[in-house]
């Protein structure tokens, strides 16, 4: 199907295009596409079992034989076949991932819905999924609303103070996520300013992030809104600068109140921007990871990215198989999240091409 570009002699010819794109494509194929393939392969393998050897130990009361780990043989096997043993899909179905057997048992048991959900939430993968989705669904809209409110507010400030206001507002977004979460974590420490205030407000001297899962979740969500609202703010603030003035004027002459003007002129004008912001924020929130590390929240809240990280840093053997399986499930989640966007972009492109 020829697009309008193919009749357009001014478009970059194929060969030139290829040379210009080559370095970028090479980088993305080598370090994004191939790693995904590598993750798929890894996820089908599990670590070698330790090689056991029967060792005879003789003491004053005779000899006994016992099984010991043969370290040298284990290392040799590991070096010869670094991927481990082939395990098929068992990484995906085991207790640490989709946990099919456990889920079947939980859903089959005679119990209330609440009990079943609680049991599901004890399985590592579903626990992480629950927090990741909650984080996406709560932080994205709240951060956008706060960002919009601040944009309206800053827009009403005198010109002179707008610059400094923007400067302060974008700090939480620009800050390194791990650093930002540590800064808040220290303030929420029971001996820190916010942590002590919360204890005082709740009149509970033992309330702390470590002790309370609810407080941990609320704190992480607060951090999320704090860190992500500036992005919405900047985009909406820039959008406000381009609201058509004459439409507003005529709405005013027609007697529209301030709220009606915001509702019928400003919000429709910003709607495409809001769609863009929502998309970017969903993508970023889905990979929530650093706050869990920064807030040392893993006892009360984990995310999909954190699960992968945890498998990779686990102390004795790195569990590439388990990390790979979680990675593939996470990527599947990202694609599900993106499908509506991809479909829409595809339609837009075809409409443009058909014109």
């Amino acid at each position: 199907m020829p697009t309008h570009a193919e009749e357009d002699a001014r478009a970059v010819p194929h060969r030139t295009f290829a040379w210009f794109m080559l370095p970028s494509i090479l980088a993305m194929v080598l370090f994004i596409t191939l790693p995904v393939v590598s993750v798929v392969v890894q996820s089908l393998f599990v670590e070698h079992e330790r090689v056991m050897a029967l060792v005879e130990t003789c003491g004053p009361f005779g000899c006994s034989r016992e099984a010991r780990v043969d370290t040298a043989a284990t290392a040799a096997l590991q070096a010869a076949r670094p991927l481990g043993r082939f395990a098929g899909l068992s990484n995906y179905t085991d207790r640490n991932h989709l946990a099919l057997a456990e889920v079947g048992r939980i859903l089959g048991q005679e119990a209330t819905l609440g009990r079943k959900l609680a049991d599901l939430a004890n399985l590592p993968f579903y626990r992480a999924l629950a927090f990741t989705l909650t984080y996406c669904m709560v932080v994205t809209p709240l951060a956008m609303m706060l960002g919009f409110a601040v944009a309206l507010g800053v827009n009403a400030l005198p010109k002179l103070v707008r610059g400094p206001a923007i400067f302060l507002s974008i700090l939480p977004m620009i800050i390194t996520p791990l650093v930002g979460s540590l800064i808040l974590f220290w303030m929420f420490d029971p001996n820190g300013i916010l942590g002590a205030t919360i204890q005082w407000l709740a009149a509970d001297p033992r309330l702390s992030l470590r002790a309370s899962a609810t407080l941990t979740w609320i704190t992480l969500l607060t951090y999320g809104v704090w860190a992500h609202a500036p992005f919405s703010f900047v985009v909406f603030y820039a959008g406000l600068q381009t609201v058509p003035g004459d439409t507003l004027e005529s709405a005013m002459i027609d007697g529209a109140s301030r709220w009606e003007r915001i509702r019928h002129v400003v919000i429709p004008h910003l709607a495409p921007l809001a769609a863009f912001v929502a998309l970017v924020q969903l993508m970023d929130n889905f990979r929530v990871f650093e706050p869990i590390v920064g807030f040392s929240a893993e006892a009360n809240a984990t995310s999909l990215s954190w699960l992968i990280f945890n498998d990779l840093v686990s102390s004795d053997t790195q569990q590439f198989g388990a990390a790979g399986a979680t990675s593939i499930l996470t990527i599947a989640g990202v694609i599900v999240l993106l499908i509506p966007v991809l479909v829409r972009t595809w339609r837009d492109f075809n409409r443009k091409a058909a014109r």
Binding site: A5, D8, R10, H14, T16, F17, F20, M21, P23, S24, A27, M28, F31, V36, S38, V39, Q42, P82, L146, A149, L152, A156, L157, G163, A165, I166, F167, I174, I175, P177, V179, I183, W186, M187, I193, A196, T197, W226, V235, A238, Q241, V243, G245, L248, A251, M252, R258, L273, V280, R287, F289, E290, S305, I308, F309, V313, G324, T330, V334, L342
Partner: protein, 293 residues
């Protein structure tokens, strides 16, 4: 913009200003607090009696004799060699920014000037890549990098960060190039330039604002990354962010959380300076992506 939105009745103006004030305090106060606290001792910054101690610092006075102390900074930068991490960060961020921009401008230009279907598909693939959590890719790097014996060194991390950054760079530069009229390179071609000469001599000189803005975001990505740098760098090659994380693991034994606080403040300073000087570019970069991306 018109005054129709900015002119408010007085009471509404007051509410709106109060809301902005609350937000600004929420946005900026944590930084002020931590900077202030980094010059105190741990018993003041994490005071068991009263959080006010962090402001007045009675323990700092008792332990060090002065109202402020540099112990945290001394411990982090000299004793625990945070300066090494700072040097590594400098190398990584500068290299990532330069390489990203070099290969990104070439690619972004080609994408902006080609209307063929494959250009669209490359952009869509870039969008999907942009959405993938970085840590999922990292789990794919580790084993091959171990086998190839390139794990742990700075060049590997630099290339990986460039690649991970590339989808975003391509999108952003592509939208900046779209805003430059085609006629410009057109006339250069008519004058006998090759495509590359037109790109280098005619388009890039007017693209500088876009290049600088994109460069800022490449810098930020490399500077702020934790997933890649914490997994792909060996202990002695660590950059600042994983180094701070490694402080956290070991401070409990030493009771020296102030090293981490000082390191955190140190890592924040360059970002402050960056925003101070490039606020306009950062804002315009975010909106360019929004309006055209």
């Amino acid at each position: 913009m018109s005054t129709a939105l900015t002119r408010l009745p007085p009471n509404l103006r007051l509410i709106s200003a109060a809301l902005v004030a609350i937000w600004l305090i929420a946005a900026a106060f944590p930084f002020l607090w931590t900077v202030w606290g980094s010059f105190k001792v741990e018993a003041d910054f994490f005071s068991r009696q009263d959080w006010m101690s962090a402001l007045t610092g009675p323990r700092t006075r008792l332990q060090t004799g002065g109202a402020y102390t540099l112990d945290g900074y001394r411990g982090a930068w000299i004793e625990r060699e945070f300066w090494r991490a700072a040097v590594n960060t400098l190398i990584v961020t500068v290299s990532v920014t330069l390489i990203s921009l070099t290969i990104g401008t070439l690619g972004g230009y080609a994408l902006a000037r080609s209307g063929y279907r494959y250009a669209f598909w490359i952009l869509i693939a870039a969008l999907v890549f942009r959405a993938m959590p970085h840590i999922t890719l990292v789990s794919g790097y580790m084993l091959p990098f171990f086998e190839l014996n390139i794990w742990g060194v700075l060049p590997t991390t630099i290339i990986v960060l460039v690649a991970i950054n590339q989808p975003f760079t391509l999108w952003m530069l592509h939208s900046f190039f779209l805003s430059i009229p085609k006629d410009l390179d057109e006339s250069a071609l008519v004058d006998g330039c090759t495509r590359f000469e037109a790109f280098r001599l005619v388009v890039i000189p007017v693209m500088w604002p876009g290049v600088i803005t994109t460069g800022l975001f490449s810098f930020l990505l490399a500077y702020n990354d934790f997933a890649v740098t914490s997994m792909l760098l060996s202990q002695e090659n660590q950059t600042m962010v994983p180094k701070i994380a490694s402080f956290l693991g070991s401070i409990h034994e030493e009771g020296n959380v102030m090293f981490a606080v000082a390191a955190v403040v140190s890592a924040t300073v360059p970002l402050f300076i960056l925003v101070l000087f490039f606020q306009r570019q950062i804002v315009s970069g975010l909106t360019a992506g929004a309006v055209k991306g």
